[in-house]
């Protein structure tokens, strides 16, 4: 009976841990408050409070609690890791690195201290051989820990080493198939490798399990933007070819291109660009699998600017097709419109980028 008993202070800490595992930092802090009031120097309580503040998005408070804990027990690696994480969230990267290194020197036998060093470097966007070694050491110490593999993958991702990153994320997912960060980052690697369809399917899967995932929504928008950028590029090329070839033509049979007439050439360009676009979309569909439909349907709901962009691209293609069936004069006019529409599409891209910067 007594072996299962816990002191009241331990009970408060257990409560706090449970609330943290449920993603309820406010409740965790509430559970800790009486304990910390009567035991203000309990480093475990302070560390849990720091963790709760970090989950609640209050890195400054987290730093206070973690620093207090580290000052009370300087050999507590957990407190130093929390100091590192808090500094990192606050953008104080040198201090974060120093705290992570302290944790690493205190407990070199713990994989988390090595992973922390690598994570701090990733946040600082400053990957060094030390970061790589730290990540590798973490997996060596804890080969069955998915987060250790995730760290290796994140380091590789930051270095644009797609193959290593993919392999590391897949290792993490083998250990924990539902690991949300590993799934997200693997999809990101797919996107960077040009496999937009697979990436879209990955992000849709994440959202199916965790509809609150803001990161997945953002990444899904990014996939849609990549796809539209491809199509936009194809249409720009088509427009450029026609413009260069027929900029000085005035008659329907006045063609400098292999003796072709206006309309035949315009039809050829429209058909080829259309086929290239269709092939690209089919490839997307094949790699996205069953999730393709959901992806396409979701885009208009997730981002109105993306919808506007897609609409402009469709309008541009329709103008190009319409130009095949008109006189030279009208065809030139329609192409002028098509050019304007493509420019408008580019303006939408710039607007989206600016909006994303403002959000950040």
């Amino acid at each position: 009976m007594t072996e299962h008993a816990a002191k009241p202070e331990d009970a408060a800490l257990t409560h706090a841990r449970t609330y943290l595992s449920l993603g309820k930092p406010a409740d965790a802090l509430r559970a800790l408050a009486p304990h910390l009031a009567s035991n203000p120097d309990d480093d475990r309580g302070l560390c849990l409070a720091s963790q709760a503040h970090l989950v609640a998005g209050e890195p400054a408070r987290a730093l206070d609690a973690a620093q207090h804990a580290a000052a009370l027990t300087p050999d507590n690696e957990w407190a130093w890791r929390l100091v590192a994480l808090s500094y990192s969230k606050l953008g104080h990267h040198p201090e974060a690195r120093a705290a992570a290194a302290t944790a690493q020197s205190i407990a070199p036998q713990l994989w988390v201290t090595h992973a922390q060093v690598a994570q701090v470097d990733i946040a600082a966007k400053r990957i060094t051989p030390e970061s790589q070694n730290a990540a590798r050491e973490a997996t060596r110490l804890a080969p069955m820990e998915p987060d250790a593999h995730l760290t290796v993958g994140n380091v590789a991702l930051a270095q644009h080493d797609w193959a290593t990153a993919e392999s590391a994320f897949r290792s993490a997912l083998r250990l924990e198939p539902e690991h949300p960060a590993a799934r997200n980052n693997l999809s990101l690697v797919m996107l960077r490798q040009g496999k937009a369809g697979s990436a879209a399917a990955g992000f849709v899967d994440i959202l199916a399990n965790d509809p609150d995932s803001e990161v997945a929504v953002r990444n899904l928008r990014a996939v849609a933007a990549v796809a539209l950028r491809h199509i936009h590029f194809i249409l720009w090329v088509a427009f450029a070819v026609v413009t260069v070839a027929f900029s000085s033509a005035s008659e329907s049979d006045n063609s400098p291109m292999y003796g072709m007439v206006w309309s035949e050439f315009l039809a050829g360009v429209a058909a080829v660009s259309g086929i290239v676009v269709v092939v690209y979309v089919l490839r997307l569909r094949r790699s996205a699998g069953a999730r393709f439909g959901q992806f396409v349907r979701s885009v208009p709901r997730l981002d109105h600017l993306l919808t506007a962009w897609a609409g402009l691209l469709v309008a541009d293609y329709l103008l190009m097709v319409a130009a095949c069936f008109t006189s030279v004069h009208w065809a030139q006019l329609l192409y002028l419109f098509a050019g304007a529409v493509l420019v408008a599409g580019s303006i939408v891209v710039i607007l989206r980028r600016n909006r994303a910067r403002v959000r950040l």
Binding site: T2, A11, L29, A37
Partner: protein, 490 residues
């Protein structure tokens, strides 16, 4: 003389609380006697009963003038304003003080009063922190004193009670108080003394669905899915309809899920047992499961009883999502209790509410468990009007057009509307305190407050949109999808 009169009037007011004239008289006397704060409280209570009472307004203004003139001369302007603002808040601040006094441990710990800890959470807090300080009158301490003094306890007590004329007996209580800090108790509990499940409060619900303003579609759905089979045992027998299974209500926060649960209990004439996460979670191994069992046992004993699980997404989280073994055990226990054996759960109606049904363990939603769902959406226009009426009816208001407010508050939850009324009251209060002239809460105050408040349901609706877009392969959220389409969010 005044004191006696005041005392008599106080008794009279307690006997006839609705007698405005009596209250007014008492208020005037109190003011005359220098007790301005209490006079303001009385004036405020009169205005709640009769918002148009000019005498009450006059009394309030006079009472305001009394302390303000005294304190304004001694304090800077800001402090004087605070001093004048305080009396208007009397009811609220008194309630807050009472709570703080009743829960010193939580308050000392800075238990985040601003976060609005629920009663259930407060209860759990007291469970987690049992008072293990030595009891001066406890067995252990008494035994120690006995051994210290070497006297016969029984004879000493007999001496003191049977022979009043003799020397006063030794005061054992005083002696215990003197030495209790020196002498430690012989035996102490290493575990908290609170037994699992002992913190549940069961109540008889007095509200019914008729008290829920508007929301007709939800009431219809509740009737069809839950209440009709319960109310018609003959039809139930005819169609061989089982009573097994519970009802899961989901929707954005602050839209009245808990209130509806109480109303269902009221409709059924059943007891109401509300169970929150904090009532169940226990750091002792196995106690969380035991708490779940105790809750069901209590509901079975008190049948007919509605047992209501609030935030079921936390308690019954997908087991694949949690690494916390204690929580996995709790979900398993909940499944066991829901399944019951034979007619064990006869008369026990299980309801649950969640903001995030997509996080609830799928096993909990299988047939026989929480197999019926009702979407509780932000209140419709009729419901909003009722909510505005409810929150404004006990405040001094004038010229409030409820229908216009209901029309202008589309998308707000019940909690948002309560906040709007709070903000409007605060505006009028601050204005009254600043000018020293009492004024009613006007339509302008409420509309301005309404402009300040943004619907708290937006983020929930964003998540819901993602669920419908990506996670509704089996059509579970068809009702939600239809609503989002109608609300042009899809």
């Amino acid at each position: 003389m005044d004191e006696q009169l005041i005392s008599s009037l106080r008794r009279a007011v307690a006997t006839s609380p609705d007698d405005i004239h009596l209250r007014l008289l008492l208020g005037q006397l109190l003011l005359k006697n220098g007790e301005a704060t209490e006079a303001i409280t009385l004036a405020a209570s009169i205005l709640q009963l009769s918002p148009g009472s000019l005498d009450a307004r006059q009394l309030m203004n006079d009472a305001f003038a009394a302390p303000a003139t005294v304190e304004a001369s001694a304090q800077p302007t800001g402090q004087a304003e605070h001093a004048t603002a305080e009396p208007l808040l009397t009811e609220t601040s008194e309630a807050a003080e009472t709570t703080a006094a009743a829960e010193p441990a939580d308050a000392a710990g800075g238990a985040d009063a601003t976060d609005g800890a629920s009663n259930s959470e407060a209860r759990a807090g007291s469970n987690a922190e049992p008072d293990n300080t030595p009891n001066p009158g406890g067995t252990g301490t008494g035994t120690d004193i006995d051994s210290l003094t070497g006297t016969d306890v029984d004879s000493a007590i007999d001496d003191g009670t049977d022979e009043p004329g003799t020397e006063p007996a030794f005061d054992w209580s005083a002696a215990e108080n003197d030495v209790h800090e020196l002498a430690q108790p012989m035996f102490v509990d290493s575990e908290p003394s609170v037994t699992p499940g002992s913190s549940f409060d069961i109540e008889r619900s007095v509200v019914t669905l008729a008290d829920v303003g508007g929301m007709k579609s939800i009431k219809d759905r509740l009737n069809a899915a839950f209440l009709a089979p319960l109310r018609n045992p003959e039809l139930r027998k005819l169609y061989a309809k089982s009573l097994k299974g519970g009802l899961l209500m989901y929707g954005p926060p602050g839209c009245g899920k808990t209130f509806i649960a109480r109303a269902i209990a009221g409709e059924l004439g059943a007891h109401f047992l509300s169970v929150g996460l904090a009532d169940i979670l226990d750091p002792m191994l196995g106690n969380s499961e035991q708490n779940v069992h105790e809750a069901f046992q209590l509901a079975r004993r008190e049948a007919p009883c509605v047992i209501f699980f609030d935030e079921i997404d936390a308690l019954g989280q997908r087991r694949s999502q949690t690494r916390n073994s204690a929580l996995r055990g709790t979900v398993n226990q909940l499944l066991t209790e829901l399944d019951g054996v034979a007619d064990q759960n006869e008369g026990v109606f299980v309801l649950a509410a969640t903001n995030q049904p997509w996080d609830v363990d799928p096993a909990l939603r299988r047939p026989g468990r929480f197999d019926r769902t009702v979407l509780v959406l932000p209140p419709d226009e009729e419901a909003r009007e009722s909510i505005f009426r409810y929150h404004l009816q006990h405040r001094p208001v004038e010229g409030i057009e409820l229908q216009a407010l209901a029309r202008a508050s589309g998308g707000l939850s019940g909690a948002d509307i309560a906040y709007v009324c709070e903000v409007a009251a605060e505006r009028a209060l601050i204005d009254s305190a600043t000018t020293g002239l009492l004024r009613m809460i006007s339509m302008k105050d409420v509309t301005e407050a309404l402009a300040e408040v943004t619907p708290s349901t937006s983020s929930w609706l964003d998540s819901a949109r993602n669920v419908v877009l990506f996670g509704d392969d089996d059509g579970t959220y068809a009702e939600l999808k239809a609503y989002l389409k109608k609300a042009k969010r899809l």
